[in-house]
């Protein structure tokens, strides 16, 4: 049986079905897990999908970071398993302290939903292991608080915007922790898996993630 991904659903999350569909289309196994479940045993990796967890109230990700499931997510991150936060999921990872920095409103104070080009700058992560440095990908951005700021300077930039759509520090579109198994990405790879809807450039990103799932044994 192939390793299974837990796709965490907070109240207000809205991209969970898309992520599950995309992972399954690429041969992966994925299941939705409610944020009150505290147990992720049996899962090989976890994706925090996009949306508006808890309505983005207080700050995006701030309330979700305190959900019961986050202790299990933290444990998986500590074990070196793949933990991927997409858009709102990245905001949750920052609020939970699993990734450095925080997100603020886009420079133009408007929501942005459009394709952007990102360049791969680091391939030593669970999101980019099958890619080459310098490779350019076209994937959709979909966020209001999309600009990442990191006064600590600890974040490893994984993907960088080719233009500067939102004022993100260092034009960062994706950032990893020191070990490269926890990654936050602002554009949505799951929205770029089909020529009919505009791009398949998200495929190698999700394939990298799926490949990373195989590296550690899963305990029951």
């Amino acid at each position: 049986m192939s390793p299974v991904t837990a796709v965490v659903v907070f109240p207000g999350t809205n991209c969970e079905r898309d992520v599950i569909r995309a992972l399954r289309a690429l041969g992966g196994e994925a299941e939705a897990v409610w944020h009150r479940d505290a147990d992720l045993s049996g899962f090989a990796g976890v994706v925090l999908p996009g949306g508006f967890a808890h309505g983005d109230y207080l700050r995006p990700g701030a309330i979700a970071a305190t959900s019961p499931i986050m202790a299990a997510v933290r444990r998986m991150a500590g074990e070196g398993r793949p933990v991927l936060g997409i858009c709102n999921g990245w905001q949750v990872l920052c609020e939970a302290g699993l990734l450095p920095g925080a997100h603020i409103a886009n420079r133009d104070l408007r929501f942005i939903c459009r394709f952007v080009e990102v360049e791969v700058v680091d391939t030593d992560t669970v999101l980019t292991s099958t890619l080459q440095v310098g490779q350019v990908l076209r994937i959709p951005l979909n966020s209001y608080e999309g600009a990442w700021v990191d006064p600590s300077g600890e974040g490893r930039v994984v993907l960088r915007y080719r233009d500067d759509p939102n004022g993100s520090q260092g034009r960062a579109a994706a950032v990893a922790d020191g070990r490269g198994n926890v990654v936050g990405v602002m554009p949505h790879p799951e929205r770029a898996v089909d020529h009919l809807t505009g791009s398949t450039d998200g495929v190698p990103l999700l394939e990298s993630y799926l490949a990373a799932l195989e590296r550690l044994p899963v305990h029951a």
Binding site: P140, V193, T197
Partner: protein, 752 residues
């Protein structure tokens, strides 16, 4: 983050707020003396304050359609694939593949003028719950928004506020906004139009009805706690025009919470999937009193409500407030007693508040108790079918003849290229990218064609649902009947560009004051035009909305019907025509012909000459149907690289939009310059590769449709070759005008 409206004069508003002395309560609530007497007759006694409040809402124009009901019967509503037609929360049609589609359109004009951000946001929330009520998952939204000239501060404030309100609610509630319309005209200066349409999908066997079901059923109120917001929104805001006191109506605008809305969607869908509810009704205008009376009347039963059990946001609400509160994100579900615990459990799991607030009883009355006292006891049907219906006087306005004879003498404009650039730079014609890039239009991974095209295409298994929405107040003002018919044909043409045949229409009829016979004439003519065109196309009207009293200081807006049309293309074509696919060497053709170009009501006359006059041409069903048939066939056979209907701005703008999308120039020859700007809806621009042009020619010959070759794509300018002159517009200039028209103007005001 939102700005205050400019030029707000708080003192003058306060000064005008004091009501005239001793005005009777029913009049303050918007009921006429005659309507009040009917209530006395119905009840055989004086109404309680709560009853009076409920009647005032349910008998308002907004809820009762009292001025329009007698005319709407002329619209064709039947087809073998119609599962649910007008009068329900949404129209439902069978897609023939195990799925049904639900479609509905609504206006939120008045709230959006008073408070653009929340007015528009709650419009989105409301339409989503209408779709949810019939058992469907809401999967796509469209917004048709109209404002005064964008150069006015006030218009920019309203426009910016409405767009951010739609973005805020729609993005967070998790329903993609895949299209719409943006227009600016003087007539909407003091009365913007904010219409919103939603599409839902449901398995064929899961259609849910808005019924209370049998006696013994339990009424469960789900969702946000009830508060004082939106008290009397329908009667106070939506059923009267605006004057200087309008700002003081701001407390009547509801406040939305997309987070509650999202949780409610998921909870309700689980209830449907598990078959836990007998019927359900969303709480919109008129709040729980409306929901209870509609569901009771439909089932022929009574409903008893215990107002003390409603979960509330604030203490001390009186019975009338509890009954008519328009607090958002609430649904009233009817459940058999044995399953109530399961329903409450589902609600708990999704973190949605729920209370058992009443039960279904034999009889025909809605009864409400508060602190053990009966505060309302009336026949359910008296609020719905029993509402007044008026046959308002109407007649052709005397000024129509003057309008029709006021034609623009056909002077040739100084330069066609200049005219093109001015059109592309007009905010109503220009790209709406600034708007739709603020909306999530990609969620669910099925937006195959999104905003910025003629129509959107949402994938459903191997098929595509194709949707277009169209309005044109200028043409409808010049001839409401012809204008309305043109909109229907235009929508059908948009559908055809993606190979789809029409399945259903919904209409949003935005008009002025129905008590004015001129306005009522415009309305009756519009309904007639819609009825004729829908009949000619064989497409049923499955739902609609009427918004009257779009007037300010006694001046009504131009009649502005908006037509939303749903079609299907099954299977998806192998080559989906897309503007951006046009390449160097591709051939430019026009399918259909316009032998007598008519520029009355065109964007060309308005934008270039500031002229609105003359009588627009009538539609031609024979020509229309043969063009649509050919175009659908071309798409099915994979012939066109790109297709574009001819509408706002005419043929030349359509061709320029292709060039801008594909970043390529064109050489175009014409014989009659007027045909470049006429907006005849029975023409479609087709682009084919040279290798395929013989297939186009053969297909057109077989179908007996006239086509002509206009030119070839290539180069970096739009080259116009006429009988006696040659002009070139650099593509870069055209692009800058079209893409920059709105952002450039909005850059002069603060982001909202």
């Amino acid at each position: 983050m939102r700005e205050l409206p400019p030029e707000e004069d708080a003192l003058s508003i306060v000064a005008q707020e004091a009501p005239p002395e001793a005005e009777p309560a029913h009049r303050l609530l918007g009921l006429t003396d005659e309507e009040y007497r009917s209530i006395l007759d119905l009840l055989g006694r004086e109404p309680t304050p709560a009853e009076l409040a409920v009647y005032s809402v349910m008998w308002s124009e907004h809820c009762s359609y009292k001025s329009s009901r007698v005319h709407l019967g002329r619209l064709p509503t039947e087809a073998p694939w119609v599962v649910m037609g007008p009068g329900e929360n949404a129209g439902v049609v069978d897609l023939g593949n195990g799925w049904c589609a639900a479609l509905r359109i609504e206006s939120h004009n008045h709230p959006s003028f008073v408070e653009p951000f929340q007015g528009a946001a709650t419009g989105v929330g409301g339409i989503i719950r209408d779709i949810l009520t019939v058992g469907a998952r809401p999967v796509a939204l469209w917004d048709q928004i109209r404002f005064g000239p964008i150069d006015h501060d006030r218009s920019r404030y309203l426009f910016g506020g409405v767009v951010s309100g739609i973005a805020w609610y729609g993005n967070a509630v998790g329903v993609p906004t895949v299209g719409g319309e943006t227009a600016f005209a003087e007539t909407y200066s003091a009365n913007p139009l904010v219409n919103v349409m939603c599409l839902g999908l449901l398995p064929r066997d899961r259609v849910v009805r808005a019924t209370a079901g049998n006696p013994g059923n339990v009424a469960v109120l789900l969702g946000a706690p009830t508060g004082r917001d939106g008290i009397g929104g329908a009667s106070i805001l939506a059923s009267a025009g605006f004057d200087a006191t309008s700002e003081s109506k701001r407390p009547s605008v509801q406040v939305g919470d997309p987070f509650q809305g999202k949780k409610l969607i998921e909870a309700c869908l689980e209830l449907y999937e598990r078959g836990l509810v007998v019927g359900i009704q969303d709480l919109g205008a008129g709040g729980i009193s409306c929901a209870a009376s509609e569901t009771a009347a439909r089932a022929g039963v009574g409903v008893e409500l215990d107002l003390d059990r409603i979960h509330v946001r604030e203490e001390g609400m009186d019975p009338a407030e509890l009954l008519i509160s328009e607090s958002q994100e609430r649904m009233l579900a009817f459940v058999v007693p044995e399953r109530v615990e399961e329903v409450l459990e589902v609600a708990r799991r999704w973190e949605v508040d729920a209370s058992v607030v009443g039960r279904v009883v034999a009889g025909d009355r809605v009864v409400a108790r508060h602190h053990g006292r009966v505060v309302l006891d009336l026949p359910a049907a008296s609020l719905t079918d029993g509402a007044p219906a008026y046959r308002r006087p109407y007649g052709e306005p005397q000024w129509m003849e003057d309008l029709w004879s006021n034609t623009l003498s056909m002077v040739r404009p100084p330069r066609l290229g200049d005219a093109l650039l001015r059109l592309l730079d007009d905010p109503s014609v220009a790209s709406a990218r600034w708007v739709y890039e603020q909306y999530d239009h990609m969620l669910f991974l099925d937006t195959v064609v999104g905003p910025g095209a003629d129509a959107s295409l949402t994938r459903v298994d191997r098929a595509g649902l194709v949707v277009s929405t169209d309005g044109n107040g200028r043409v409808c003002y010049l001839d409401p009947r012809r204008g309305a018919a043109r909109l229907v044909w235009e929508a059908a043409a948009n559908l055809a560009t993606l190979g789809a045949r029409p399945l259903a229409v919904v209409d949003n009829l935005n008009f002025g004051n129905p008590e004015d016979p001129d306005v009522m004439w415009q309305f009756v003519e519009t309904v007639q035009g819609l009825a004729e065109a829908c009949t000619q196309l064989g497409v049923p009207v499955v739902g609609g909305n009427v918004s009257f009293y779009n007037e300010t200081e006694g001046k009504s807006i131009h009649p502005t019907p908006v037509v939303g049309m749903l079609g299907i293309v099954d299977p998806l074509p192998e080559q989906i025509p897309r503007w951006e696919n046009v390449e160097e060497g591709d051939e430019l053709w026009i399918v259909g012909s316009d032998p007598t170009p008519n520029l009355a009501g065109s964007a060309f006359e308005q934008v270039v000459f500031g002229h609105v006059g003359g009588r627009p041409a009538s539609t031609n069903p024979t020509r229309g149907n043969s063009v649509l048939g050919l175009v659908r066939r071309l798409v099915a056979e994979g012939i066109p690289v790109a297709l574009h209907d001819v509408s706002d701005g005419g043929l030349l703008v359509a061709v320029a939009e292709l060039c801008i999308a594909a970043r390529i120039g064109v050489g175009l020859s014409y014989s009659d310059w007027r045909a470049l700007f006429s907006e005849d809806p029975h023409r479609i621009v087709a682009v084919v590769s040279p290798a395929d042009s013989h297939r186009l020619v053969d297909a057109a010959r077989r179908q007996g449709v006239e086509i002509s070759r206009l030119g070839t794509f290539g180069g970096d300018s739009i080259l116009l070759e006429g009988p006696d002159r040659r002009e070139a517009v650099p593509l870069e200039e055209a692009s800058a005008a079209h893409l920059g028209a709105i952002p450039r103007r909005m850059a002069t005001s603060h982001a909202t």
